[in-house]
């Protein structure tokens, strides 16, 4: 859980308790909660808030790392009538990602305070929390927290006596990974099949029900009121590298102490794996890792000293993604690993475009053949071709399919000999794919 070390500022997890008991409104307020809201409402204009956000260099924590202030600056700010929407993306379904759950279950008010100030900044009058169906406890806590806020005057009409009003709703989803893609999420919130939409028009201009809409990740929104209360310089100073803030990092796989920790942005990979996750479990060695969820490229032991930030991991040929690493150990089959991911992406394809709908099952089939000892030497070329065609942005309607190709393309690069051993040796050389 959160390791609160002396002298270190951990804004996002300061209310996270060892036993993960949720922080209620009273405890949240006792620890300075809603102070950011009080300090801003009626004193800072939306434009002031936007400027602070821009200056802070907060980047979206949902995976792509897009600058939040810039994203918001595309929302029309004229007085034209009609709704504007803020949506919190709490769909967290990226394989290997378990950071938003912690923030939602342990400190629901932090998200709500962040959302109120975010909505205020873009002058949204309705906010939704789109939460995946399986997060029953978090959805319940959020509903209770929203009700408590309405009573306190933090939500509803004329918030804290100002002329700003905001209503907030929790929408529990009904499954499917693609709902996390922001335009698919909007389709789903409208009650439709969750097919992604073409951009442009961008949601900032024409999103939910054709109105200006901002979609942000849970962790992104949780940062906002801290930044507005404590300033852009403070936020920048939290990061160890050029990238600002703290980050929820996680490690899963065969390490001694899998978990999720809030650490300064840019903490070295090695420190996260060896100190926080306790190093590899006894009898296992590290072979590689996906830095931030199932749709990021493998990195290997040569990358352990890199800083975990968007630019550094990007330059190394991968993506920081969600910041939750998945460890590949020496007894787990890399082909089986990639096959599991590919089957996931094939299953979760929304079916809208052909390269994804037909291509991903084909890749999964080839990987299954190789894993099962039915592979042919030419399969290596087939996989490489699939990576080229399906992996290229622009050949598919959304980023699901290119994301699906990232673990495969990097496995072909770093673990090629494993594929060849499968082909030459009649199947998987690992016991039960290594998961026994």
């Amino acid at each position: 859980m959160s390791l609160e070390l002396p002298g270190q500022d951990r804004p996002l997890t300061r209310n996270v308790r060892e036993d993960r008991r949720p922080t209620d409104l009273a405890a949240y307020e006792a620890n300075g909660g809603y102070r950011g809201l009080r300090s801003a409402m009626g004193k800072l204009s939306p434009a002031d808030c936007l400027q602070i956000l821009k200056d802070s260099n907060l980047r979206g924590r949902g995976g792509a790392g897009f600058p939040t202030g810039m994203k918001w600056s595309f929302v029309p700010m004229d007085d034209s009538p009609g709704h504007k929407y803020l949506i919190c993306n709490a769909d967290e379904m990226e394989p290997g990602t378990f950071k938003d759950r912690l923030l939602l279950e342990c400190d629901p008010h932090q998200l709500i305070e962040g959302m109120i100030l975010s909505a205020y900044t873009i002058q949204a009058d309705v906010a939704y929390i789109f939460i995946r169906a399986e997060y029953h406890k978090a959805a319940q806590l959020l509903r209770e927290a929203i009700a408590a806020c309405k009573e306190k005057g933090y939500l509803g009409d004329n918030i804290l006596g100002t002329d700003y009003s905001l209503e907030m709703h929790v929408h529990a989803s009904a499954g499917r990974y693609i709902c996390g893609e922001e335009t698919a999420l909007i389709s789903s919130l409208e009650g439709k099949r969750a097919n992604p939409r073409a951009k442009p028009p961008f949601p900032q201009v024409s999103g939910l029900w054709g109105r200006p809409t901002i979609v942000n990740n849970v962790e992104t929104l949780c940062n906002v009121h801290h930044i507005i209360e404590r300033g852009a310089d403070w936020f920048q100073s939290l990061g160890l590298t050029g990238d600002a803030g703290t980050k929820m990092y996680g490690v899963s796989g065969r390490v001694k102490n899998p978990g999720c920790w809030e650490l300064p942005m840019g903490t070295p990979v090695r420190e996260i794996i060896e100190e926080y996750a306790g190093g590899m479990a006894d009898g296992y060695q590290l072979r590689g890792f996906l830095p931030g969820g199932g749709s990021t490229d493998f990195l290997t032991t040569q990358h352990l000293d890199l800083a975990m930030d968007y630019d550094t991991i990007g330059k190394a040929g991968s993506r920081m993604g969600t910041g939750t690493m998945i460890i590949l150990d020496d007894k787990t089959c890399p082909v089986g690993f990639v096959k599991n991911l590919m089957e996931f992406f094939a299953r979760e394809s929304c079916g809208f475009c052909t390269p994804c709908r037909d291509g991903l099952p084909w890749s999964a089939q080839v990987l299954d053949d190789i894993e099962g000892g039915r592979g042919l030497p030419e399969d290596m070329d087939t996989l490489a071709r699939q990576v080229t065609y399906i992996g290229a942005m622009g050949n598919t309607h959304c980023a699901l399919a290119p994301g699906a190709m990232e673990p495969l393309q990097s496995a072909l690069k770093y673990f090629r000999e494993d594929f060849e051993r499968h082909l030459n040796g009649g199947g998987c050389p690992y016991c039960d794919g290594g998961t026994a």
Binding site: P95, F98, R132, R176, K192, W209, I326, F337, T435
Partner: protein, 166 residues
């Protein structure tokens, strides 16, 4: 009156279900926008969404049953077939796979005598795979109903489902 005619007079959605759906309709621009909420509300009351329920919901939302079915069948947690009293959602994504979820699935299947997608004859359990449950540090995990079971072992499965056939 024929049996068919009587059936068509019985309101298929209960007052409770209608009230819950109408509460959702109150904050959206048109009725069909609550399609997913409505399906979930009815499913919460009845366990699944039958053809009859689907038609009743569609009528209430002023949309065609076909369109609503297109929505319903898109989402894996809307059940268009009956499920058991409790649905077991076993995570089979990457971190749980590394930690042996395939073996656990085989174990549950043998304990309950059902494959993925099937329901036990006594109607207690349905077993389904699910995407990463966001608890990868506690892998392998599964949801039984609304309860999350973490760090699953074969012993834990024995306690939950009995020794089974093996």
């Amino acid at each position: 009156m024929s049996e068919r005619e009587t059936a068509s007079l019985i309101p298929v959605l209960s007052a409770q279900e209608l009230a819950a759906i109408d509460a959702e309709i109150a904050h959206v621009p048109y009725r069909a926008a609550v399609a997913i909420d409505a399906l979930k509300i009815v499913q919460a009351h009845r366990g699944w969404v039958s053809d009859e329920s689907l038609q009743a919901i569609a009528r209430h939302l002023e949309m065609s049953a076909e369109e609503l079915d297109g929505v319903a069948t898109f989402y894996n947690l809307i059940y268009r077939r009956p499920v058991g009293e409790q649905v077991i959602l076993l995570c089979n994504s990457i971190s749980c796979w590394i930690k042996g979820c395939d073996r656990l699935q085989a174990k549950i299947s043998s304990q309950l005598g059902i494959a993925l997608g099937e329901t036990t004859p006594d109607n207690r359990y349905t077993l389904l795979p699910v995407t990463c449950l966001g608890a990868c540090d506690k892998a392998p995990v599964m949801l039984v109903g609304e309860e999350l079971h973490e760090d699953l072992t074969e012993q834990a499965l024995n306690r939950l489902f009995g020794e089974g056939e093996t």
